[in-house]
């Protein structure tokens, strides 16, 4: 039986927009797996209650239930060691965890302040009130106010990507000559932005822009073919 992935979806069930789920979808493709990607909404807590988590991604594989994108990546690496490695050895695993923490704190948090007000428009009706209430509580103000000055703030956001840019000036992927989980970690954020917002995050002469294009091409255009805003 194919793996199943509970995957955050919008009103259009084909629109899959979670940055964390995209990390997992790319990791599964890297390992050669094509899961049944079940559309899931923020308010559908019952469907994943047996995972012990109230958030996706949640992966079901041969009777096992694994929540959290990082834990899923480790599960896949440990359970399927003969398939292409997500980490490239123990050192790569330890430092991918660092990239994960950096991307969460810098990239996901930064992107949220640029695109969060665009998300309600793509949500399923049942999710709308939940999303607005929970995000306004997190930011402490209405979502349109959060993103209001984004044309100015995006410059600083681009600067915050400097460590990744430095690497991508020297090599095609964070992981080196070929992509691996560190690339999927970072890409998840950009794919999230792409799926929910038409706001331009990167400029065309940024090495990150060309890297994102390469990421969109992977696995037969898996991410490029996804519905976008």
């Amino acid at each position: 039986m194919a793996m199943q992935l509970h995957d955050l979806a919008g009103a259009d069930p084909r629109r899959r927009f979670s940055p964390y789920c995209w990390r997992t979808r790319m990791a599964l493709a890297h390992k050669g797996f094509v899961p049944e990607a079940l559309p899931w909404r923020f308010t559908d807590k019952a469907a994943i209650a047996d995972s012990g988590s109230d958030k996706v991604p949640v992966l079901r594989d041969d009777g096992r239930v694994i929540a959290d994108s990082w834990h899923i990546a480790e599960y896949l690496e440990d359970t399927y060691p003969d398939r292409p490695s997500l980490f490239g050895g123990p050192g790569g695993r330890a430092l991918a965890r660092f990239v994960n923490a950096w991307a969460d704190a810098t990239v996901i948090a930064g992107l949220a302040t640029l695109i969060v007000a665009d998300i309600p428009a793509i949500l399923a009706p049942d999710d709308l009130a939940y999303f607005i209430r929970s995000r306004e509580a997190r930011f402490g103000r209405p979502l349109p106010e959060v993103t209001a000055d984004r044309d100015e703030r995006v410059v600083q956001f681009r600067q915050s990507l400097h460590p990744a840019r430095m690497i991508l000036r020297e090599q095609p992927f964070l992981h080196g000559d070929a992509p691996a989980y560190a690339d999927y970690i970072l890409f998840g954020g950009f794919q999230w932005a792409r799926c929910v917002s038409s706001f331009p995050i990167l400029v065309a002469d940024d090495p990150l822009y060309a890297w994102r294009e390469r990421m969109l091409d992977l696995f037969g255009g898996l991410a490029r073919s996804a519905p976008t805003a």
Copy 2:
């Protein structure tokens, strides 16, 4: 013949304070090497001219001359593969480079704004004018002005260390159960601060504080025994 390391020194030749040289000194110790660490000053360009660089660290090993802490780490890993690994595999090497870029952009640059005004007091006389002139040009104002509000800004600096802190809550070293080059990259910055300034960078309940203590204990207390401010 033992390796030689051109190593930035203060007026007291025993005070070695470059963050980049400390990365290299720890990497050499990790590989089991004890170099002849030659005191070098900012204005002593002639001594390292054959390296093609005007900055230290510069390593001399068996007729070869290698400049730049990252290049030295790669040289050591490639030349002495049978000694303890600095990277833990190709994935670890690729992502250590990311840690290097993050540490330079976030940690070294952030620390500089907190401690740069303390450095002139420990410099050799010939270096003093060079250092003040070049650093005031970089910051665009007198060095005491750069650090003036550090009691407030250190709070934000500590927040910028969040990605490393997240990892060190879960494991004793960035690299995992044992330290490797990613740890030496980050540690170089803290050891620099420790050698030139008494300004308190970390608070005692920070996981980074305990990690720094572990780093100071490595290799028989190599870094702990160095002259500090």
